[in-house]
Amino acid sequence: MTLRALRAVVGARLRAERRSLAFACAGAAIVGFVQPHGITAVTNPLTADIATRSVWLAGPMFFCSMLGIAIALLQGPGRHAFLDTTERSAPLFGRELARAKALAPVLYAAIATLVYWAAQFLSGFAAPPAFFLLALACVFASTLVALNATVTTGLARVLALLGATATIVVAYVLAVYADAYSTKSGDAVGVATELIVCAGIGFVALRQYGELLARLR
């Protein structure tokens, strides 16, 4: 697939869903501003660490991932039938098309997450950059898993959506607890664990999406 074709597919998808992006960004900005960031006073540093991580990561990970899932579901057939038909009739392999089609919702979700972070920053509670990375990895993985729901029906669709939700929970637990309990080895271990798990889930989900797209009706 040429870079030009990739840009065309992503550009057309982004333009087609620009209103949804505006709503997602507006929602992210509002929730980023109003989300509580404070924790109760604790003396144990480990408890304080976990409390801080759980409060600061819950908002961006759960809310932005839900936005990502919603945006992924908008890529389903029927909403932009002319884009679906044109992309399917183009001489592109299923995996190439899957990568291009997946890039649009992932970019949207990334923008919404960035807006959420900006809102947090402006409200005076800027989380460290590692937290942004953790949230972004979770958003990407859950969005990619949710994309599978757009090309399946029945039980398979339900399973894809459950998988996307489970991805958020697993990533959150890893981000909060693996990070907090790996303080002896440094934060890098906890961060890396969550990133590797999300990258693995995202990779498998993208491969599966490509396989499903490659299957002709």
């Binding site: 040429t2 002319f82 038909t85 009739s89 001489p91 002709l216």
Partner: protein
């Protein structure tokens, strides 16, 4: 020599036979009309002919290729024009041509020039119906598959297409 060959090709969806066994050949440059019982059958047959749908049984060959094995090769030969018009409220004509040119890796300037010529040849046909045909003919396909096209402008469409054409219609259209 044939550009499209159907041999006992059927299409079954959710346990229902949509396309009954179809047998026909289309030679390069030939024009053929196929009448189908209903819109669903017409759409499925057109999509099978353009390598967008896989035959449940039997075989379809486009050029020398089997869409089940080499769908990308088949899509370089066959161009598909859907029944639905282009939603011009969502994408304007110039952007649509640039989009198609990028997907088929056609030089943008050459695509614009060819699109203008084709659009001129389809004068009178509403843009929403004309541009999908213009877009389909941009990469110089060897086979054009029209899913229930506008019958009033058939002569213009056939004149603009310098390749084999399969027109799939519903009976009585």
């Amino acid at each position: 020599m044939h550009i499209l060959r159907f041999r006992d090709a059927t299409y079954v969806r959710d346990g229902k036979a949509i396309v009954a066994p179809a047998n026909f050949d289309l030679a390069p440059g030939e024009r053929m009309r196929r009448a189908c019982g209903n819109a669903r059958e017409a759409e499925a047959l057109a999509m099978m002919a353009a390598a967008l749908a896989r035959a449940t049984s039997g075989s379809v060959t486009i050029g020398e290729f089997d869409p089940r094995v080499q769908p990308v090769h088949c899509k370089r030969i066959a161009a598909f024009v859907p029944h639905d018009p282009l939603p011009l409220s969502q994408i304007d004509a110039d952007r649509y041509i640039a989009y198609r040119a990028a997907l088929w890796d056609i030089d943008p300037v050459a695509a614009r020039t060819r699109a203008r010529k084709l659009h001129h040849a389809l004068e009178g046909l509403h843009e929403a119906f004309a541009y999908p045909i213009v877009g389909a003919l941009l990469p110089l396909p060897q086979l054009l598959v029209l899913d229930r096209p506008q019958p009033a402008f058939m002569a213009q469409i056939l004149a603009a297409a310098d390749c084999a054409v399969l027109i799939v219609e519903t009976a009585g259209a």
